[in-house]
Assembly symmetry: C2
Homo-oligomer: 112 residues x 2
DNA sequence: CATATACATCAGCGCGGATTGACACACTCC
DNA sequence: GGAGTGTGTCAATCCGCGCTGATGTATATG
C-alpha cells in the first residue's frame, strides 16, 4: 500500500471545513439494486417483458415478495407494468430503459 | 402504463423454467455504495487523498465509524491506505481507480 | 351469481448491518 | 520512558428492511 505521496502535503494539514458531498441520489439507487431479488428482476427483464409468476419461479421467491419488490422498482420508475390484452389477469413488467440508463449514469458518477 | 404489447405472446404463456440470473457481484457492490457514509467517502476521494479525520468532519460522522466503513471499502479493494511520510500517525486514503471503474462496469452491466 | 386464478397489500416478526461506547494500537514529541 | 494524538477494533445496542402469513383486489370462466 503506497499512495503516490507526491500529491500529499509535506506536512499533514487536515482541512476540517470540507463540504459534505450530496450522494442521496446514487445511494437510493444503490439501495434498490442491493437486493438479490430486485437485481434479479432487473436482470431478467433485460431479455424482454415477463409476468410476475415467471420471475417468482425463476428467482425462487414467493409471488407476494416479488410483487413488493416490483412495487419499489415501479415507484423508482425503473420498470413499467401492463396487463395482458387477451387475459388481463396477467401483469407483464418491462424495464424503463431511459430510467435505467439514467440510474447507471448516476452510479457511474460516483465511481468515475 | 402501456407496454408495447407486440412483443408479448397472443395468449399468456408463462415459462416457469427460466434460469435465475447471477447477480451476486453487482449486488455486493451496490450494498457497499448503498450507505451514505461510504458513498460520501468515495465521492470525497475523487478530489484526491484525504485523511480519516478530514472525511469524518466533512461527513459529520464519528472517526471510528468512518474507520469501519473505510475498512469495508479497503476489503473490497476500492480504496488504498498509506501513512503520511512526515508524520506517520495520519493515514491518507485514496481511491483505486481501476477497481472503481470495474465496479462501475459491473453495475452498468445490470442496468444496461 | 359463485368459483378460480393472478396479482397486490398489509401487520407482525426476525435478522443483518450500522451506531455507540470503550478500549487497543501506532506514532510523535517531551 | 511517559503523555498526547490519530487511527483501528470490538461487544452491545439499536434500527431499518425483507420475509411470513393472511387478506384484499381484479379479471376470467361456468
Amino acid at each position: 500500500m503506497s499512495a503516490r505521496g507526491s500529491v500529499l502535503p509535506i506536512l499533514p494539514t487536515p482541512r476540517l471545513d470540507l463540504p459534505a458531498p450530496d450522494v442521496t441520489a446514487p445511494v437510493g439507487l444503490a439501495a434498490l439494486i442491493a437486493d438479490p431479488t430486485r437485481a434479479g428482476i432487473l436482470a431478467m427483464l433485460r431479455s424482454g417483458p415477463h409476468c410476475v409468476c415467471e420471475m417468482a419461479a425463476a428467482l425462487g421467491e414467493r409471488q407476494n415478495n416479488v410483487s413488493m419488490h416490483l412495487a419499489r422498482l415501479r415507484d423508482a420508475g425503473l420498470v413499467r407494468a401492463s396487463r395482458h390484452d387477451a387475459d388481463a389477469r396477467w401483469v407483464y413488467y418491462e424495464r424503463d430503459e431511459e430510467a435505467c440508463a439514467a440510474a447507471a449514469t448516476a452510479l457511474d458518477g460516483l465511481l468515475r
